[in-house]
Structure formats: structure tokens, C-alpha cells
């Protein structure tokens, strides 16, 4: 903490219910008369639906059946665009696209019914490679299947290449990644008990996204839809936009059956149908001088959006805004495009495009360093952004961060030059093990991009309960990252109370204002600041109530015991006291959405990650033996929660780097189980050492910046840079599987291959 408090962090406030098994996740909830729902999906990647038949051998009388024709409002998943239907209406654009919904009391009967429905198609050629999306036979969106295009231009990149001594031009690829939250998607919908409207309970990150999409679907006003978050078993972006679809489906079944309907996916359906991280292809062309200064960067970034737009334009935006990394480069051109393919749509996943572009640049930086004969950290040192430097969008760096100090700390923790010498000696002696250190340097923008936070105009309220406790009202969700605990700490600090005296209202759109989505590393920093302001406003309102002609009570005086006494008086008098806050843009933030010039993010978290890897040259198995994550995230609000966020993100990043591979065949995901889509286990990863520098951010609560996405960015490039050094090959893709490394090593080896 910034004020030097030494008290250990409080236990997380939702911990007790979670460790005892009492926390109620959506699948734990039963309601009287509840039906189970099921989704019937397409079995082809693209084509016209020519017929749907129901096997007459099955008794269909107990089933509720919903098709696109039953939709009372608009068959559009309203988000950024309206291109995606809730239920395919005559045409499918991807495998596993929802076509029909069923509900029944007996889940067993639903399984039988699913097998008794036959859907026939007139198939059309699917686009299964984003490089081919421009071909006319694949045209399904706009003129050329382009979902979104962004150009960021700084200076004159041709002139920059003119002044370079060396130019390196390479292409990098990343694969899809499944969020693999351990709780699959699930919703319960029921007709509101009072007759009008619908209530939805479920696993989600963004309650007001569901309100927006489902009211549009049902054609009802926002006041007739209530959305309540149930305890949510992980999100990582996977429960940002997709829950709107599950909620809409459950609501359609509930309205038609007039019963509560539970729609919970099993793991197979979840991996098969829901959004994943966007695959990417990034070409990086960089010019450097012989003394190791970057002169020009030209980056062509292509994202595979899948079959519908979802959040792709914003993912592309974040990818492009992180593409030039924490480096000062005079001339930059970034051309970013996202295009359609006929795979299930890609969507939000922790990092949101940034891990893809950072991976490409950081691999490229290491290759440039090798060409220049410089160490990776020395080459980076010569190019880091510093206060006052200009980023690709023209943004002037305000954060006073010393990236090189972050880097040398990591290097030293890994054993430094001494360790590198040891590894080199061991490599020379070992017949089959090659080890090396690898690094990545990066930033991650906190909060929504540019003017996004202004558009959200988030609101938070703080009220006194009938017992005189302080209750925080916001739509931001606890999904494991610690929202409840963090908001309690922030409000308590503002009012001089103990965190246990703060209540955080469950996100229920009938009660809480819209404080924006729980995404984009914004909850602690942006919404936390609003929690602080709302708590202070509550104190001010309470002071106003206590003041009269004779006595003026200042808000500042109402802290700790004085606040408790005042709250007691409010309870006695039956006063309703409500504090409010609303987002206001820091004055320095200037952003032009049309030209992509200005302050892309109000602030950034900065980091250098490093690792040691050992590669077996017979099996090409990669073992990450050490990992150090060093970052400046502003003030750390809760040390244990912050460490847990970083470690968890790093391990997701290691999974993306090495083992997590979504396998498609004819546009369908084939590995739809946790035994075939492999995420890291206890024994696949080393302990993750986490270090924090804490340069406070003035518009973050207690100086805090966003933290959630940052750790996803660094592991892949750090690990692949280490692999490159260990094996003397240049891996250009993640996941970097043993088969791929073997191929690279064989290609690099003299005739006869590595095992000849």
C-alpha cells in the first residue's frame, strides 16, 4: 500500500461461501416447475437450411420448441452490430450455429429429441482460412468480408526505412484459444412472477449487455427485463458477450413455456459453440540502425473474426494499439484488418487482441537483437518509450516508468549473466537438453479505448442500509478477480471504515446502476475510482443531513467513528442517504476515433517478463522451469489478489504459448473436451514469481491501474524467445507444439535431420 500500511491483506470476502461449497452457481439453482433447455445446432459450416423434420416416432407433446419464427422482437444479438441472429433463420454461417431450441422437464428426453430432429441443408463453400476471405465466392459480409479496418500512421514509414541500416520482415501467427472457465455457460430464465417481463439469472460478466441484447430480442422495454448475476465460475472474456445468447435462448423458451427454463451447457457444447480468442497473422517489418535504434515499423495485422462481428472491431482496435509496443519509433504504419471466416465467431478473451500483436513484435525484437549482436534487453533498452515520448497514435507518454529497471530486475532474479553462462556450459555438455532465458517487454492499456469510457458514462451508487452499513451498488461482477473485496477495501478506505463494514450489492439490474462491463482491466481502476467517489459523496450527503443553521458538518470529518455515529443517527431518523458518482474523463485525455490519433488509453500498465526454459531435443517437449513477472500497475490494492491475478494470467499465457490448440475440421471444433483441449495443470507450470513496482496513477483508487489482462501478454513471446535461443531456430507461431519445433529443427539441421 502507498501509505506504508503493514497489515496483511484481508481474506477475500466471498471466500467463505466458495470454500464451503455454499456459493450458488447457476447450475446449483432449482426453481419449482423448472424445465431444462437444449440448443439444436448446425452441422455444416455454411449453407441454406432446406428442411427441418421431427421424427414422428417421438412423442413431442411434452416439449417446448422455439424457432426463429417464435421471436417476438428482433432476431439480432444487439451489441456493436446486428449481424448475428439468435437463431439461424434459413441460413447458417458456421458449424454449431443455434437453429432450434427445446425445453422439457426431463433432460434425458432432450437428448432423445436432439437425435430425432433432422435438418437438411444446401451447402455452400465455407471460408476456412482468413487469408482467403477476400475471394468472391466467400462473400457474406459487406463488399469483401472485412469486419473492420484500422490504420495508424505516425510519420513517414518509407523515410524511416530509408534511414535504416538493417530491415527485417517476418510473419507471425497465433491460434484460437478457448477461455476454458471451469464453469460452463449457463442461464435460467423465467417469466417474472408478477406477470410482466422476464427475469434472468446466470453466469456472466456484463449484466447490462444482456439487458440490451435480450430486450431487443423480446421487443420489451428495459424495465421489463431483470438480469441477476449468479456466482460466476470464471469468465476471462468468455462471459462478456456470449451470455447474451444463452440468456436470449433461455428467455425465449421461458416465454413460450411460461415456466422457468435452465439452459446450462456441458463442456462439449461450450467448447464447440462459444467464442474463442481471435487467431492472428501479423507481418512485422522493422528498420534499425547499426547502433540499435528502431527507425521504422510497418505492421500488417489480420484477425480471423469467425462468422459474425461480435466484438471483433474492438479486439482489432486493442490489437493495433498494442502492436508497436513500449518503444519509441519515429515512423510507424499499422494496418489492421479483421475478416470473416465460417468458423464459430471469435470474441473477447483476456488481453483482447493485445497478446496477438505483442507476440509478433516481441519475437521480432529478439530477432533484430540477434542481427545487431546485442542482447535482447540491451537492444530493448535503446528503444524504450520514456516520459514525453510519442507513441504510434501521437499520444505523449505521461507514466514515469523505467522499463529497463523492470527488465534488469527480472534478469537478476533469473540469475543474470552467471546463469546464462551456466546454461551455455550445460547445453554444450548435454546430449538432449537445451536451456535458455527469454524475455518480453510490453504495456497494456487500462480501461476502454479512447473515448469508450466517456460513452459508457458509468455510474456507481453508495447507500446507507437500514442497519447503517454502507452498500455499494454497481453492475460490475465478481468473476474470481476479487471485485467484492476490492470495492470493499476502496470504500472502507474512503470512509475510514473496516472493509467488513461495506456491503457490495449483488449485480441485479433491478437494483444497481450501469457501471459498465466487467472487462478491459477497468473494474478496479475505472469503477473502483467511482466507488471511492460515491463513498465520499455518501459522506457529503450525510454531512448535509446533519448540518443545520447552527452547525455545519463537513464531509471530511465523517470518517471512522464519526461516520458510524452519523450513520446511526441516519438510521434513527429513517433518512435515506445515497451517494452517487459518474465517470468524468480526465481532462488530459484527447482522442479522435476517426483518425485514431490521441490518447488511446488514459494510462498503461508496464511490464517485463522473463523465463528459463528447457527443451528436450529428442521429444521437443518444452519445460518452463522459471518465470518472473515484473510489472508497474500503479498502487496494489490487495497483494494476494493481485499476485493471484498475475499468476493465473501468466499460466493462461503459457497454455496459449505451448499447449492450447483448437483443432478444426470442416469449420467444426474437434477437440471439445478438457482431455483433448489441454490447459496447464499443476505439474505443467513452474512457480510464477510476481514483482510489483508501484507508480501511482492519479485517477485510480489508491493509485491503482488495471491489472487483469496484462499477464496474458508476456508469456508467449518470453517463452518462444527462450526456445529460439535454446534451439537456434525461430519459432513464429503459437501454440508452439513439439511437432512444430521438430519441423523447424529438422529444417535447420544438416542433411539427415536432428535425429539422423
Amino acid at each position: 500500500m502507498n501509505d506504508g500500511e503493514l497489515t496483511p491483506p484481508i481474506p477475500r470476502l466471498d471466500g467463505h461461501d466458495k470454500v464451503t461449497g455454499r456459493a450458488q452457481y447457476v447450475d446449483d439453482i432449482q426453481m419449482p416447475g423448472m424445465l431444462h433447455g437444449a440448443t439444436i445446432r448446425s452441422t455444416i459450416a455454411r449453407g441454406r437450411i432446406t428442411g427441418i423434420t421431427f421424427d414422428p416416432a417421438l412423442d413431442w407433446s411434452g416439449f417446448t420448441i422455439v424457432t426463429a419464427a417464435d421471436i417476438p422482437g428482433k432476431n439480432e444479438v444487439l451489441l456493436l452490430t446486428k449481424d448475428q441472429p439468435f437463431l439461424a433463420d434459413g441460413y447458417v454461417r458456421h458449424h454449431s450455429e443455434p437453429i432450434l431450441l427445446l425445453a422439457h422437464e426431463d433432460r434425458e428426453m432432450l437428448r432423445r429429441a436432439a437425435m430425432a430432429i433432422t435438418i437438411s441443408y444446401a451447402e455452400e463453400p465455407p471460408c476456412l482460412d482468413v487469408r482467403q476471405a477476400l475471394r468472391p465466392e466467400f462473400r457474406q459480409h459487406g463488399d469483401d468480408n472485412t469486419f473492420h479496418a484500422i490504420d495508424i500512421i505516425k510519420g513517414d514509414v518509407d523515410a524511416g526505412f530509408e534511414s535504416a541500416d538493417l530491415i527485417l520482415d517476418e510473419t507471425y501467427e497465433t491460434g484460437a484459444q478457448e477461455q476454458a472457465y471451469i464453469e460452463p455457460q449457463g442461464m435460467i430464465a423465467r417469466p417474472a412472477p408478477d406477470g410482466g417481463g422476464v427475469e434472468i439469472f446466470g453466469s456472466l460478466q456484463c449484466p447490462y449487455y444482456v439487458v440490451k441484447a435480450v430486450t431487443h430480442l423480446l421487443g420489451i422495454p428495459a424495465g421489463e427485463l431483470r438480469v441477476v448475476q449468479t456466482t460466476t465460475g470464471g469468465g476471462f472474456g468468455g462471459k462478456e458477450e456470449y451470455p447474451s445468447i444463452v440468456a436470449g435462448h433461455a428467455a425465449l423458451l421461458a416465454l413460450k413455456s411460461r415456466r422457468p427454463v435452465k439452459l446450462v451447457y456441458d463442456r462439449h457444447e461450450d467448447i464447440l459453440a462459444t467464442t474463442k480468442r481471435h487467431p492472428s497473422i501479423t507481418r512485422v517489418k522493422a528498420g534499425v540502425t547499426l547502433d540499435g535504434k528502431l527507425t521504422a515499423l510497418e505492421i500488417d495485422l489480420l484477425l480471423d473474426g469467425g462468422a459474425y462481428v461480435t466484438l471483433t472491431p474492438v479486439v482489432l482496435s486493442r490489437a493495433s494499439l498494442h502492436a508497436s509496443g513500449p518503444y519509441a519509433v519515429p515512423d510507424i504504419t499499422i494496418r489492421a484488418r479483421a475478416r470473416l471466416t465460417n468458423t464459430p465467431p471469435h470474441g473477447a478473451f483476456r488481453g483482447f487482441g493485445a497478446p496477438q500483436s505483442i507476440f509478433a513484435l516481441e519475437r521480432h525484437m529478439d530477432r533484430l537483437a540477434v542481427r545487431l549482436g546485442l542482447s535482447p534487453l540491451e537492444f530493448r533498452r535503446r528503444n524504450y518509450l520514456k516520459v514525453g515520448a510519442t507513441m504510434a497514435t501521437g499520444q505523449i507518454v505521461r507514466d514515469d516508468i523505467d522499463m529497463h529497471t523492470l527488465a534488469t530486475t527480472v534478469y537478476d532474479r533469473l540469475g543474470g549473466a552467471e546463469r546464462e553462462a551456466e546454461l551455455a556450459a550445460a547445453n554444450a555438455l548435454s546430449p538432449s537438453k537445451r536451456s535458455a532465458l527469454g524475455f518480453a517487454a510490453f504495456y497494456h492499456g487500462a480501461g476502454f479505448t479512447g473515448s469508450g469510457e466517456e460513452r459508457l458514462a458509468s455510474q456507481v451508487a453508495a447507500r446507507l442500509t437500514d442497519e447503517g452499513a454502507v452498500e455499494i451498488l454497481s453492475s460490475n461482477t465478481e468473476i474470481g478477480q476479487g471485485t467484492i473485496t476490492i470495492f470493499s477495501i476502496i470504500a472502507a478506505k474512503a470512509l475510514g471504515l473496516d472493509p467488513s463494514e461495506i456491503r457490495v450489492a449483488p449485480p441485479d439490474t433491478a437494483r444497481v446502476p450501469d457501471s459498465g462491463p466487467t472487462v478491459a482491466s477497468r473494474t478496479a481502476m475505472v469503477v473502483g475510482y467511482l466507488v471511492q467517489q460515491a463513498a465520499l459523496d455518501l459522506a457529503a450527503k450525510l454531512a448535509g443531513k446533519l448540518s443545520d443553521e447552527l452547525r455545519t458538518v463537513s464531509a471530511e470529518s465523517l470518517r471512522g467513528e464519526a461516520f458510524r455515529r452519523a450513520a446511526g443517527q441516519a438510521v434513527e431518523h429513517g433518512w435515506k442517504v445515497l451517494g452517487r458518482s459518474r465517470y468524468e474523463k480526465p481532462a488530459f485525455v484527447q482522442w479522435d476515433e476517426t483518425t485514431y490519433r490521441g490518447d488511446a488509453y488514459a494510462t498503461y500498465a508496464w511490464a517485463v517478463y522473463g523465463c528459463e526454459v528447457e527443451v528436450d531435443t529428442r521429444t521437443f517437449e518444452v519445460n518452463v522451469t522459471r518465470f518472473v513477472a515484473n510489472q508497474d500497475v500503479g498502487g496494489v490494492l490487495h497483494a494476494t489478489l493481485a499476485v493471484g491475478q498475475i499468476q493465473g494470467g501468466v499460466v493462461q499465457g503459457l497454455g496459449w504459448a505451448l499447449c492450447e490448440q483448437v483443432i478444426y475440421k470442416d469449420g467444426a471444433v474437434r477437440n471439445t473436451a478438457l482431455s483433448t483441449y489441454v490447459i496447464p495443470t499443476f505439474v505443467d507450470v513452474p512457480p510464477i514469481e510476481v514483482l510489483f513496482a508501484e507508480t501511482p496513477y492519479e485517477f485510480g483508487p489508491m493509485g491503482a491501474k488495471g491489472i487483469g489482462e496484462l499477464p496474458m501478454d508476456g508469456p508467449a513471446p518470453a517463452v518462444l524467445n527462450a526456445i529460439a535461443k535454446a534451439l537456434g531456430v525461430e519459432p513464429e507461431q503459437v501454440p508452439c507444439r513439439p511437432e512444430y519445433l521438430m519441423m523447424l529443427a529438422d529444417a535447420a539441421a544438416p542433411v539427415g535431420g536432428t535425429r539422423g
Binding site: 470454500v19 461449497g21 447450475d27 465460475g233 498475475i646 499468476q647 493465473g648 499443476f682 505439474v683
Partner: protein, 169 residues
């Protein structure tokens, strides 16, 4: 597994066993998953389904002293068995110590793997041999939030608080 069940609509059986010290009799198709019987028939929703194929460990329970994934156990196999689920752990010194340590050391984040993880951790704390590696012993349980270190820290703290390590040496 579920698909298999759908074809196996055989006569229901009455199966008797003990759960958390309580005698129960359930009438169910013999191949109904123990996890579903616990959650739906007995209302013990602490055990979670993460994968349905015995891969993630979120449904971990202890049957006759063995740590098992209840999503791949047909209920008929529970006949006469003694079953412990997360709901009973607070009553045992080891279970309570593990729960407390998970709260204090960041062992739980989203919490969905936590009940199974805690059942496994309590079992490991009790049964581990001297020198055994906690990571190896817990490798049957997946967590997507923590990156595992704070779970290890939690289990270490629980073991230290119980002084189990010493008594096993």
C-alpha cells in the same frame, strides 16, 4: 457418458450408502452418475461439474477413503459406501484447516474448482507420504484462475497449521 446413459434405460434400483455420516437410499437408474445423484437427488450442490469426463476434478469426493471424480462413478458402485463431500469438510480438523487456508492465502478465486480442490487438498494433506510433491498429488484437479501457486501456498499453510508434515516424518 451421458449419451451412454440415454441408451441404458434399465430398471431403477434402490441404492443405499452413507453421505457425510448420513444414511441415504436413492432410487435411480444404476448407471446414473453419482455426481447427479449428489447434486440433484440429495441437494449436495457443492460438488461441481466442470468437464463430465473425470478430467478436471471439480466433482471430487471421497468414497471409502479414496479420492474419486464423482462424474464418472455410476451410482450403483456406491452401494454400501461411505462418501464424504465438501459439505462435510468443515466438521473435520483437516477440512476446516484447508478451508481456512484457502481463504487466507488466495487459494480460491472464481471458486468453481474450489470445492473439488479442497476435497482433494484435504485428502492429500491426510494421505501424503513424506517427501511427496503436492503438485503431483493435486494434478488431477484443474484451476483456470490461480495459476496454482496460491493453491499450493494454501495447502502448505494448512499442513503447517496441522503439523501433519512432522507427524508423517
Amino acid at each position: 457418458m451421458r449419451r451412454l446413459l440415454s441408451e441404458a434405460r434399465v430398471a431403477e434400483a434402490t441404492i443405499r450408502f452413507r453421505v457425510n455420516g448420513r444414511d441415504v437410499a436413492v432410487t435411480a437408474p444404476p448407471f446414473r452418475r453419482l455426481l447427479d445423484v449428489l447434486r440433484e437427488d440429495l441437494g449436495l450442490t457443492g460438488s461441481k461439474e466442470g468437464c463430465g469426463e473425470g478430467e478436471c476434478g471439480s466433482c471430487s469426493v471421497v468414497i471409502n477413503g479414496e479420492l474419486v471424480n464423482s462424474c464418472i462413478v455410476p451410482v450403483i458402485q456406491s452401494e454400501g459406501a461411505e462418501i464424504t463431500t465438501v459439505e462435510a469438510l468443515a466438521e473435520t480438523p483437516i477440512g476446516a484447516a484447508v478451508q481456512k487456508a484457502f481463504m487466507e492465502h488466495g487459494g480460491a478465486q472464481c471458486g468453481i474448482c474450489t470445492p473439488g480442490m479442497i476435497v482433494a487438498a484435504a485428502w492429500v494433506a491426510e494421505h501424503r507420504a513424506y517427501g511427496s510433491d503436492l503438485r503431483d498429488m493435486l494434478a488431477g484437479n484443474l484451476c483456470r484462475c490461480t495459476g496454482y501457486d496460491l493453491i499450493i501456498a494454501s495447502v502448505d499453510a494448512a499442513i503447517a497449521s496441522l503439523d501433519i508434515g512432522k507427524s508423517r516424518e
